[in-house]
Amino acid sequence: MSTTANNTENENATATGKLGTYLEAYGELIAERQERDPVWLRQLREDAWRRFYANGFPTTHDEDWRFTNLAALAKTSFQRAVKGSGTVTAEQIEGFRVLGAGCRLVFVNGHFAPELSDVCDLPNTLEICSLERGIAKAMEGSASNGSAPVGCAPEGIEQHLGRYADLRRDVFTALNTALWDDGAYLRIHRGAVIERPIHLLYVSAGAGAAIMTHPRTLIVAEPTSHSAVIEDYVSIGDETAFSNAVTELVAGQDAVVSHFLVERENLAAFNVSTLRLELARGTNVSSHSILLGGGLVRNNVHPVLNGEGAECLINGLFVGAGRQHLDNYMLVEHAQPLCSSRQFYNGILDDRARGVFHGRIVVHKDAQKTDAKQTNRNLLLSDDARIDTKPQLEIYADDVKCTHGATIGQIEEEQLFYLRSRGIEETSARNLLLYAFAAECLDRMPESPAREFVAELIRVRLTDLAQNHQVAVLAAPVEEETQHWEEVR
């Protein structure tokens, strides 16, 4: 373990003040997993841990974190949740159901909850299990000299896990890689068409202390397969929690995959999620991020278009009120020729909420004929809401088409009056206008149960917002309990 003090560490002294709790958690985890983790994984965790411990959390001096202050996160002592912490009933889970989903894996405080999961009636072209279980199977398999394990064939795990998400670039990826307890492993077989979406539900349930989880998901979509996955972060209760998720999605040649990220945790939650997409030749991958909840949210989406003709849609909607802070960091890498990427993010911010859209496009030397587009549109509903939007293009090829644009606006009084003058009362009119703006994001999703599901979540959230907005105008301002991330230093 590195204990050398260097300049970087000194600069981060305030941020690293609480790394002790992470060190404790790491020591505990390593001791527990001595037997269970294969050598390659232990190695991976150790590398990752060193990386994290040497750097600590970034500060706003770091260009990638300029608009998001992590002091409140760094100050809080989070405990690693032990298995069985937080009681969650089947009824509670029922409320989070996705209608039309084919199967569901549930994780409570980072640990797989088989009794709450539903993996019946799966086609045999889809393998799905908890990552820990997959690794255990692989160990058993190699111990019993290669006999095929039942239910989940985990041979892809070692090949892919940790190969894409870059722990050298990003300390949160390093922290996740060192500390993950569990997560989901999905493998969609070559040519398989999985009609119904796969629902991965990550639940934070109060355990009496601020807990942290580091869910890790690996999705291997083999060539020419079709599938849709919903990664869904929720809270039960209103205790603070820190979810630091990393998902690696590997799409084989000509595979078609839709990934949905839904953040709907409570307002005390810290959520950092990193989605690393690896696109082979001819793949069509879309990422849809729907950020509705959470107090401090960082949504990293990092596709690498690594085969000719790959297409990537990076679509998102973030809706914040109160003092929510929603930060979207896109890094779109074009590594091969003839690929196209489309980024569309819409933000709606009310009260003192703050949003960030950082859209970085890197076109590598060989990626000729790249076609990359980026659009960020924002609606600010109050004078105190704020958006920082920052496009960043790095182009090393000479025959490319890259465009970017951002807009910031308010609900137009003219439109509101027009609707009202036809008999639609103010709250509904406001709601209609918000929904119309949000619907641009829905329109980019193929018609599916996943879209229906997020459309309903958005509808409910915006109705709340439209109503709160009216109340806020009528009532005297109320001092809010939640921290304002900007002010915590």
């Binding site: 027009y418 009202r420 036809r422 008999g423 009362e425 929904y435």
Partner: protein
Amino acid sequence: MALLEIQDLHARVEGHEILKGLNLTINAGEVHSIMGPNGSGKSTLAAVLARRETYEVTRGRVLFNGKDLLEMKPEDAACEGVFLAFQYPVEIPGIGNAYFVRSAMNAIRKFHGQDELDAMDFLPLYKERMKILEMDDKLVNRSVNEGFSGGEKKRNEILQMAMLEPKLAILDETDSGLDIDALRIVAKGVNAMRGPDRAFLVITHYQRLLDYITPDFVHVLVDGKIVRSGGPELALELEDKGYGPSEADVPQALPA
């Protein structure tokens, strides 16, 4: 009881007094036209009647069907039966034309304690009325007014009026910018809706529209007040002689 009764109405916008003691009475079944030079307060009157909040009423009162209109929010006035065809209809991206009109109809129906219309009941009616206004079927699902031509926007206003069936329809310079064919179509739509229970307030610069929609009364608005009132022949005279007060000026004439 008159449908609309305006007494001594004063109103301002952004600190400027625009209406300076306007009186007007409109009965059900009547078509009134208000003419007047630019800046005389025609559109301000329309906006005040539609309850636009940026227009401040400083004095006077307005009764609509015996109720105090100035106490109503825009949506309440609409539900009571006031309709404003906008001079500049607003584009609303993301909200479908038909969906919008159905939402409005249902809001009004709800206000009157009636059942909501579903899409199956609504659409045939909507399409039939579109046909009267010679509107393209493609506009059904397009966003409200988005990318519509000027003429399409104005026809869309009349279509909304035809669907919402108001008691009082205010047409704010609906003719401006329309070519003669579009003007005829709009007039046809309005005339189809004339009836004993409905009144119109047609605001216009030009006599031309009144060739197609014959008013019962014509009023001249100058500097925030009605300075003359008369029958349809007054419009022709104005076309000839302009808005200057004539010798036969009757300052505060009220229609019967």
